[in-house]
Symmetry: C2
Subunit: 501 residues, 2 copies
Amino acid sequence: MGAGLEELRKQFGIVADLEAAGGVLGWDQQTYMPPGGAQGRAMQLATLGRVAHEQLVSDDMGAALEAAESEVEGLDPDSDEVRTVRKARREFDKARRVPSEWVAEFRRVTALAHQVWEKARAEADFSQFQEPLEEIVQLRRDYADFFAPFDHVYDPLLDDFEPGMKMAEVKAVFDELRPAQISLVQDIVDRGRPVDDSVVHQQFDEQKQWDFGIEVAKALGYDLESGRQDKAVHPFTSGFGTGDVRITTRFDTGFLNTALFGTMHEAGHAMYEQGVNPEFDRAPLGVTTSLAVHESQSRMWENLVGRSRAFWVGFYERLQEVFPGQLGQVDLKTFYRAVNKVMPSLIRVEADEATYNLHIMLRFELEIAMMEGTLDVGDLPEAWNSKFEEFLGLVPPDDAVGVLQDIHWSGGMIGYFPTYALGNLVAAQLWGKIYEDIPDLESGIEKGEFGALLGWLRENVHRHGSKFEPVELLTRITGSGLTAKPYLRYLREKFGDIYGL
Amino acid sequence: MGAGLEELRKQFGIVADLEAAGGVLGWDQQTYMPPGGAQGRAMQLATLGRVAHEQLVSDDMGAALEAAESEVEGLDPDSDEVRTVRKARREFDKARRVPSEWVAEFRRVTALAHQVWEKARAEADFSQFQEPLEEIVQLRRDYADFFAPFDHVYDPLLDDFEPGMKMAEVKAVFDELRPAQISLVQDIVDRGRPVDDSVVHQQFDEQKQWDFGIEVAKALGYDLESGRQDKAVHPFTSGFGTGDVRITTRFDTGFLNTALFGTMHEAGHAMYEQGVNPEFDRAPLGVTTSLAVHESQSRMWENLVGRSRAFWVGFYERLQEVFPGQLGQVDLKTFYRAVNKVMPSLIRVEADEATYNLHIMLRFELEIAMMEGTLDVGDLPEAWNSKFEEFLGLVPPDDAVGVLQDIHWSGGMIGYFPTYALGNLVAAQLWGKIYEDIPDLESGIEKGEFGALLGWLRENVHRHGSKFEPVELLTRITGSGLTAKPYLRYLREKFGDIYGL
C-alpha cells in the first residue's frame, strides 16, 4: 500500500470509529437507555456526527485522497485499491457540500425526535410529533439544497441510501409494480378462498419464541459470537464492524409471525454485514453497498427462504415440538398457508409479500409530496389514511397503527422507504441466479442446510462491501440491472399455487 | 455569561460528549458486547480518547480559557464562574502535557487488555495477563514522566483519581490505619466468639434478589428513570450526564451479600452522579470531585446505612417475606450479625468493614512497587500471595480469587485503589457531621426513610460536582481535612458491640 492510500485508510478509520461509536449510542438509545438520558444522548450524537463529519471533510483527508488517487492511477479498475479511492472520493465530495453544523443539528434534532415519536406512537397522537417532523422535513430540504441543481429534490436524499438511484427511476419501477400487485391481490380476493391463519394467532410464550428464533438464526448462519439479539420497539440491525453486528426483535405473544419472521429478517441483514471482507473494516469499502441490497438480504432470508415450503419441511417439526399445544395437531400445509396469508393489513413490517410493496409506495408518494411542499406535515395523517384506503382498502383506526408506525421519519430517514421495495426486487432477481448456480438449493433448505446459500451470498454479495455500486453489483451477478419482472413472476407463481389462481 | 466563558462551555461540551460516548462504549463492553466486538471496540475507544483529548488541548480551547479567565477576574472566588474556569485550567494544563497519541494507545491497549483479563480470570491463569499488564505499567510510567519532576512516580497517577493528593500523604494515613485495623481484627479473633453467617449462605433465587435489590435502591433514592441496572462480571457505575447513570450488579445464588450490598454500593455511587447540579452537565464542574468522595458515597450507603441495625429494623421483615424459607425463622439480631461478620477473606468487594482496607493497602503497596520498578509484573502473583498472607493470614488458592480478581489494572487504573480506603474514611468523617445536622437520622432509617440523608448529601456533596477539590470540600463540611480517627472509632464501636470487645 502506498503512503497516500495508507494515510487515507488511517483518516477514514477515524471517521469509521466515530460513526461506529454513534452506532453503539443509537443502538443503546433504542434498547436500554433510560428516559432521562434522552437530552444528553442527543448532544452526544450531535457531537459525534459533527466531529466525524469534520474528520471526513478535513484538508488532511483531501490531501490524502489526492495522493492516493495519484498512486492508484493505472491500476486494475476493479482492484480494491482503485475502488477504495473511488468510494472515498465520492464520500468526500458529497460530505464537503454539507456544513458540519447541519450534521450536528440534524443529529440532535433526530435524536430528540426519536423520543417524541416513541411517546406519540404509544399515545396514538400524531400532533405531538408534528413539530419535530416539520423541523426534520425542513432540514432535509436544506440538505437537498446543498446538492443543487438536481432533477428532483428527492434525489439527493435517495442517493444516501441507494447510491446513483434517482426518484424518476424508482417511480418508473413502481409504476410497473403497482398495477400488477394490485391486480394480484384483487385476483386473490376474487378467488374467494381465503386462508385461515388462526393457527398463528394463538398464545405463544415469549421465551420459547425467543429461543426458537435464536435456533433458526443460528441455523441460517448468523454468528452470535459476533452478534446478539435484544428487544426493541422497532426492530433493526446495527453493526459496528464485522465483529459486532446486532439484531433486535419485537415479540407479540398473540401472533407468532412478528418475532419469527422478524428475527429471520434481521438475521439476513446481520449476515450481510458479518460477511463483508474483514480487510475492509474501518475502510471506505467496509460498509454495505446500498439499502436495497441490504434489504434484498433480509427479505430473502425472511421470505424466499423463511416463508418457503422447503424451509418448513425442515423446521416445522421442531416448531411443533416447541409449541405442541398450539401446533401439534396442525399439518404443514395449513401452517405454510397461514404464514403466507394474503390480506391487506395495517402494519408494514407484518404485511404479506403480495401487499408489502403497496405499503412502501404509499410512503414514497407521501415523502415526495412533503419534500416538494405540496403536502403539509399537519395534513399528513389525513393524507396517509386516504391513500391507505386507496392502496389497501383499509382506514387505520388510529395514528399508532397508521402514520406513526414506522421509526424512519423520526430519524430523518426520508428517502429510505423505497429501498425496501427495491430490495424485494433485488432478492427475486438474485434468487434466479442462485437457483442456476445451486441446482439442489431447495433440497438443501428442506434439510435445514443453508451453507451453500450463505456461501454464495458471501462470495457474490457480502464480501464486496461497497466495492461495487448496487446496479453494477447486480449487473455483474445477474447480467442485468434492476427489473421488476422476477419479483412479479415469483409472486404470481407462489400465490397462484397457494390460492389456486 | 461572558463570551469567553460561553465559548469555554461550548468547547468543553464537545469534550464531555466524546467522553460520555466513550463511557457508553465502555459500559456496553462490560455488559452486552459480543466477544467478536473486542478488536473494533478497542479502536473506537482509542479514537474517541484521542479526539476528546485533541479537543481538550486545542488552541481554541486555550484561547477560550484565557478569555474566560479575564472575564471572571475579580468575581467571588467561590462563584460557579470562577470555579468553572479554575477547573478547566487544571484539566487543560494537565492534558497539554500528554500527547494525544499516548491517549489513543492507552485506550487501545486497555480495551484489549480488558478482554484478556476476563479470559485469564475465568481460567485462573495470570500468565495470559502478564504481557498486557507489562504494557500497561510501562504506559503508566510514561504517563508519570509527562509530569516530571514529581515527588514520587505514583503521584501523577493518583492525582487523576484524587486531585491534589500525594502518595506520601496516603502512606501516612495508611500507616496509622493498618496497625489499628490489624489489631482490631486480632482482638475479634482472640475474643473467640465467631459469628455464624450460614444464614446468608443459602440458596437465594436470582430474580428475587434482583427485585429486592431494586426495591431497596429505589427506597434509598436511586432514580431509575435516569438509571438502570444490568449484570456485569465486575460491578461498576457508569454515568453519562445526570440523566443517565447506570449501575451493574453481580449475583451469587449461594451468597446473599454479593448482590444485596453490591446494589446498595453502586446505588450510592449513582446517586452522587445523579445529584450533581444539572446546570453543570457537559461542563467542567459536571463531574464528581474525586474517587475518594465517590467511594465515600457508595460505602456510606452500603455500610453505614445498609449494614446498620437501624436499616434492618426497617427492611428485615420485607426481606423475610421475599425469602421466607431461608430467613423466616432467622431473627433480626442473627441476620444483622451475619451481614457484619468479620473474617479475613479473599475477595475485596465482599470483605467486611474491618478487613476491607487491608485489601486496599496490599494493592497500594504492590502498585507502588510495580511503578518504582522494584517488582516485576511476572513476580506479581507471588508477591500478591505472600503479602496477602502477611496482611490477612490467607493464601489465595488460585489467581482468579487472587491477583486477577479486580478489573482495575486491566483498565490501566493504577492509582485508583487507595481511593477506596480513603472513601471509607471520608464516609465516617461525613457521618459525624450528618448526625449533628440530622439528630433523628437513625429513627428515620428505621422507618425506611432516607430523604433527609439524601437531601443532606445532595446539598453538601453531590450538587457541587467538582466545584471544590476533595480536601476543600471535606473541610468546608466538617471543619477539617482527611483524618482516619472517625473511621477507626466507628469500627471499634460497631464491632466492639457485635463481638463484645
